[in-house]
């Protein structure tokens, strides 16, 4: 089989994406829509083109391309991506064969393993399976960062190849989850059970979106969930607004506007810690 896979980008030397130093592959496509998402360019499988205004502030290309710079439509930007002498046009990803992706990843060797992130890597589980199989044949440690909201069949495709799961815990109230994230929390619960049944290493990661994730009802649900599903550790982190520029470039609205207080972060850390769970506040 030689499927195509849609890759956002590949980032070397990642410190927060699993054991040791990781190379992280951001795959495009995500089943849910978190208002605070830091990688909006990877939500959809579609590849979009943006023009960096810091590199090109021209309305008419001075280098004779049929391009109106940052005022151009997607078709024009796509056409000129490779031609732009200022390297101002960027694509939010590329479609490549799984074979090509494997080749690229095997050429990188100064890491402790590869992590698949996104989007959500389960969104392209069938193509990803091909990649993981070949990487595992090369004894590469595999980690996956996922919300586990995808169809449970997707998880089944890849679960055996994964060494470590980094699983987001977000909104566990069924109704609110559907309203805010457009996600089915029952998929999350089913998938988590499968991961624990297979006795995989699990790190839970909780993005502290004030009011949405951090509220009395959800915090209690999370604590109850953690009692029943003890991971290697829990990582909690404050959300930041560093993605603002990305949303602007993509013409998307950014709904995140409030950073959680340090006191709330510490309280939450203490609550988890009291359950006898290793918990760490991380920052990116």
């Amino acid at each position: 089989m030689n499927n195509n896979i849609v890759v956002g980008n590949i980032q070397k030397t990642c410190f927060h994406d699993g054991p040791g130093i990781r190379t992280t592959v951001f795959l495009k496509g995500c089943p849910i829509r978190c208002p605070w998402c830091a990688n909006p360019e990877n939500l959809s499988l579609d590849i979009k083109y943006t023009c960096d205004i810091d590199k090109c502030d021209y309305n008419n290309c001075p280098y004779n391309l049929d391009c109106n710079g940052f005022n151009s439509n997607q078709q024009t930007l796509k056409k000129n991506e490779k031609e732009c002498p200022l390297n101002a046009i960027k694509a939010t990803g590329s479609t490549i064969t799984t074979k090509e992706l494997v080749k690229q990843l095997l050429s990188i060797n100064n890491h402790d393993g590869i992590t698949f992130s996104g989007g959500d890597p389960l969104f392209q589980a069938y193509a990803l399976k091909e990649v993981l199989r070949k990487l595992k044949n090369n004894n590469i440690n595999i980690c996956i960062e996922t919300s586990l909201y995808s169809n449970p069949n997707n998880l089944l495709q890849i679960i055996d190849y994964i060494d470590t799961f980094i699983i987001d815990i977000k909104i566990l109230e069924e109704k609110k989850c559907r309203q805010v994230l457009n996600g089915d929390v029952n998929n999350f619960y089913t998938n988590v059970e499968r991961v624990f049944e297979k006795k995989k290493s699990v790190i839970f990661r909780i993005p502290l979106a004030d009011n949405l994730v951090y509220n009395d009802v959800n915090v209690n649900l999370i604590l109850k969930f953690l009692k029943d599903h003890k991971p290697l550790k829990v990582e909690i982190f404050k959300l930041h607004n560093l993605a603002q520029k990305k949303y602007e470039a993509l013409g998307l609205k950014y709904n995140f506007n409030k950073e959680i207080s340090d006191i709330k972060v510490r309280n939450f850390q203490n609550m988890i810690s009291k359950e006898g769970i290793n918990v760490e506040v991380i920052s990116f």
């Binding site: 070397k12 030397t13 410190f15 040791g20 130093i21 280098y63 002498p85 200022l86 100064n110």
Partner: protein
Amino acid sequence: MTLKKLIPVKVKYKIKYLLKRARQLNYGKSEKILYVLKNYFKVKVISGDDASEKIMSQAKIKIVKNDNFVVSLDNNILNLNPKIISNITIDYGQVLKYSINDIKDRYKNSNDSYSVREYKFILAVELYVNKIIKNLKNNDKLLIDNLKKILNSSDLNFHQALQKILIFNTIAWQIGMKLNGFGRLDKILDSYYEENEFNNKLLFEFLSIINSNYNFKSGELLGDTGQIIILGGLDENEKYFSNKLTYKFIETLKKLNKPDPKILLRVSSKMDIKLLTVAVECIKTGIGSPLLSNDDVIIPILKNFGCGIDSYNYITSACWEPLIAGMSMDQNNICGLNYLEPLDKILNTNNVSLDNLEELYIEELKKYIKDKVNLVNSYIFPYNPLLSMFTSDCDRKHKDVSEGGAKYSNFGFTTAGLANLTNSYFNLKKYCQEKKIYTFDELNEKRKNNYSDSSVLKLLKSNEKKFGLDDEEVINFVNKVISITGEELAKYRNKFGGKFKFGLSSPDYINFSRNLAASFDGRKNKEPLNVHISSNYSFDETISFACKLNYDGLAFNGNVIDFIITPDYIENNKEKFVQYIYKSIEDGFFQMQMNVVSSKVLIDAKKNPEQYPNLIVRVWGFSAYFNDLPEDYKNVLIERALKNEQ
């Protein structure tokens, strides 16, 4: 004949020296003149073959002491010949092995001119130490006893050993040697040190007193003293050597929190990661130290160069240029090469075109190297009896280090501008050859006009193929230039029969640019050249790139990756950051140094210097107070920090 030429050399030398001192004090023009006039007759300049001996005899005792150590340095007596072999470290292992009496015995019965000179010099040293003793007061009994012991015995304790090192180090400064390092003090002092509170206090005081006479020891820039301590390293059995002192030196330097002295830690994939963690903790404070030097890469290259088993005992010149402790007089900073200079020369001729540019450049680079070789081979070095008595094989050959007495007598060039040359090449290739946006003549014209049209600069700077990118084509280009330089230098020998080597890190990135025209990389007239191995890419990209450069052969005279990182970044990723550095050792970087500081702090410090009296930064191979730096050096750091945070 101009009036300037009529002024005697000694007078000029004195004035130059006093002007440097006045500059260090930040005096204005009229204050400088007054300072020179006021101090002119206080300064004495000594010349001749026996200058070192005369200086030791005539130097006034000017005591600097703390509770447990004493040194003396007369900053009003100078050696006229600035070419005295410097930028090297006396072998303090040898210094501790023999008492002054032992050394006298070594030479007293020989009549050859070398031995006579050495004997006279050691007598002058003995006299000098006795003068210090006389100048101490009765309540300095411990200091006096230690100095007496140094004169007569080689059976010293830790305290006396440190005191002896300080005395001989100060003698080196006194006779006019510059950039005086300390060598592998953890190894040298291994048998003397026991961990206890008093010894740890001694270590703190030892490092504190090294920091004295900071202005006198500094070169043109305050902080450029070359007082480097080398720690750790592989031993002959390929096992990593470190001891309690290795850790203690790093911890004490961190506690001292001064830019000087500085530390170079020899690292290896065989070292304990705990030591690397301690080093990163020290680096995180922002003092710019330790610099990391990778034994796994350097030792095999030194072996191939011809240093055999001695390679395991390498130290470095003031910044990072490897040489063998106690066996070498290698002048590793004898001259700088600027890769843009030959390019600039051919661009000013009429027959240059895109087709013949590469060929003309290589030809001109070779001529340029030949000229530099001829220049440094014309240098005459004065006798250095101090260095000679502690350097093998001077005694065996009865030859001073300045006559080729040492086992190794090589010369090293430092280079700057390779990044600018690389980026120029890729800009010409992309914009003139591939995309044909400009003809070569058009772009050259714009360069000559210093890129008065800013859109050209925007274009030239937007090329994503640059020095520092882990890309096969970029790496191949850089390795090709390295290889041409190495092959050319291999054709020559220096006046002692020694070899020439070179490295990609140079202190000259600002000096070389002062009269240099704009270049195709988008550098305007007089703008600084790129710093060492650095780039605008992320630090891990630059490290991956640097790990793939070919340092074999002669390209090992210091190759430092230099990057700026914020303290928060290390704090938030401490454990992983250490793991990453460890992994990079395995990947094969040559050397690495970091400035741990944010652009916000640097910008604010430039505006409000009074609020940052203790802000330390790494400059080229040394650390300095940010406030002491000239504006152009401050600007380079700020610009690089801003780009790094983008």
